[in-house]
Amino acid sequence: MALSELFTDYTLRTVALGSIFLGIVSGTLGTYAVLRKQSLIGDMVSHAALPGICLSFLIIGSKNTEWLLLGAFLAGWIATIIINIIHTHSKIKYDSALGTVLAVFFGFGLVLLTYIQKIPNANQAGLENFLFGQVSTILQRDVIFMGIVAVFTILPVILFWKEFKLLSFDHDFAAIIGFSTNKLDLLLTTLMVIAVIAGLQSVGVVLMSAMLIAPAVSARQWTDKLSVMIVLSSIFGAVSGVVGTLISSSIPKMPTGPIIVVVVTIIAFISMLFAPNRGLIWKKVRDYYNKKELSTHMVLNNLYILAKNHEDPFHPHDLETICLYNNGLRLSKRMMKKELNKLKISGLAKEYEEGNWAITPEGFKKMEEIHFEGGGDME
């Protein structure tokens, strides 16, 4: 599968375009979901949509996509409102409320589904597929739909940029300085529900919860700035959509949705390992260097203490004596010698005959400065 086919193959182009729109929408709103510790809202909403889909089918009597989506949106929206009410008016924790509402809504959806399956109406076949979605069946009109959703969800985010930012990072402060946090909360949650429902139909329940979380988690590792995080998150979402589509079209029988989830999760793992500053490997390397620098400083400190306790500050001492002041730092003599040599190279310590060592005036001055800055003195 060559990359150029992405631009020539019609079906592939449609799917890729759809994935890009999906990536942008879920990347942007996923960022807020992750920052506000509401990551699992996607999972909840996508399950809670089922009764809405069924009820809307029961009322309309046909599988008209727009109406089904509207029903799904309303059900998901009501579910989030209920969770909010439970959370604010009782001692029940957010996750318990989330789990209960998810299970109950989905269970009720199944009740309706089995009820629908009994009424003699040929239309009902495949209603549940609506919930489990199939990326490879994305049509051009889905792409246009996703594009419209993208515009209508991104626009409010831009308009309410500073409000949403404040809401996500310091909710109490936002309330104190007079923003109506209830309304803003509602708006942001509504946008999240729209994003989830819009993606649901094309990619299904499980992919949708991954698309909300994984790109945002990846982006979080690379930056501490909200705007950059949103852009990165959208890019990660879009890229994994396209890469997943390419993989599934080059390997026979490979399902598109799940492979996108795998790709997007791998991006998250890579980010958590390798991202500068926050990444695990970066942290390990930094810890290693910090530790090394610290132990060199500690040895210099030993020399400094010895110097302060002698009439002649630059009187040389042997290794055993220097090792006595271990400061919780248990260095072997070999390691101690290594550290001393390092100090010698930077001119902070001097080696005398028979392996005796002393601090140099430069080293003494440096330690005085360090102790002065630290506000104490090691007498």
Binding site: S39, S90, G99, V104, V217
Partner: protein, 373 residues
Amino acid sequence: MNPQLEIQTIAILVAISCSLSGVFLILRQMAMMADAISHTILLGIVLAFFVIQDLSSPLLIIGAAIMGTITVFLVETINKTKLVNEDAAIGLIFPFLFSLGIILVTLYAGSIHLDVDAVLLGELAFAPFNRLIINGVDIGPKSLYIMLVILILNILYIALFYKELKLSTFDIGLAATLGFSPVFIHYSLMSLVSITSVAAFDAVGAILVLAFMVGPPTIAYLVTDNLTKMIWLSVLFGIISAISGYWVATWFDVTIAGTMATMVGILFAIVFIFIPERGLIATMHSKKEQKYEFALISLLMHIINHQGTPREIEELGIDTIKNHLYWEEKFTEEIIDRVLDKNYAYIEDNILKISEEGKKFALSNYYHIVDLD
């Protein structure tokens, strides 16, 4: 036993087992871990199937349970890096493992019948078809016995480790200081949750497992602050939803599992709204009462502050007082009515005047608030 009774017995066994481990799950704020586990065990079943090559083998359950524990381990590992929040860690791991499961099924197991929908949705109505036959004698449905074993396991675990569970749930630091291993309790509990979900899931489907694990304990949590009572109540609520769910489902001829989950929701709604003192109505009412009480005292203090001053007519006049309290007109009228009703104040020449009684009431509350003596 007739099938009706068998289904209800299985449902009750599932309800009790799930409620028991669910209590500790929601107290530890890990409700969504049950949701995660119920998804990832698919991968466990698929992998175990590749090894065993037999879809009816009980070893599949063990494979699935191991995958449940692996899920917990992976989430914990990601948590420990502190790079993501716990909820995001759960949401990162379970779609990933679930997707791997689906990919494996579609790529390699296309010929065998492993219906993903059936695994996730489950149908209790079919449980009696799968019989346990020993020496040619039919002794009842298989899932009945499996769930019985699981229930005994749950009861044994909680009875044996009750003290440790309680301590590590409510004060993890103290538990560690006293020498109990919170890690051991955590993983053993999560393994129990995992085994319970897998077994229950085989009988009733993933959604009912989640509904029974999180629902009844959450309702019980609303009712009581006592752990022992919470356990008994959540068992009770589980049984009520199971039995009522069964009968409603038969009445309307719809899915049994789904109806039971719906009954959990209805039970929750009733308790949440109507329970005295903590219910929605009670808290709304007491919040409103507090608001009125506070306004009443504010009004009395306003009168005390301005009574006898030159601006008395303006500040305390019946027609002008609303301009100084900055309240909505209707609310102001209501509060004035209340004050008059209680004889805390009276009207003289169209001016509000405080009574001795009102003065005493307001000042006692004032000292109560500011703690002056």
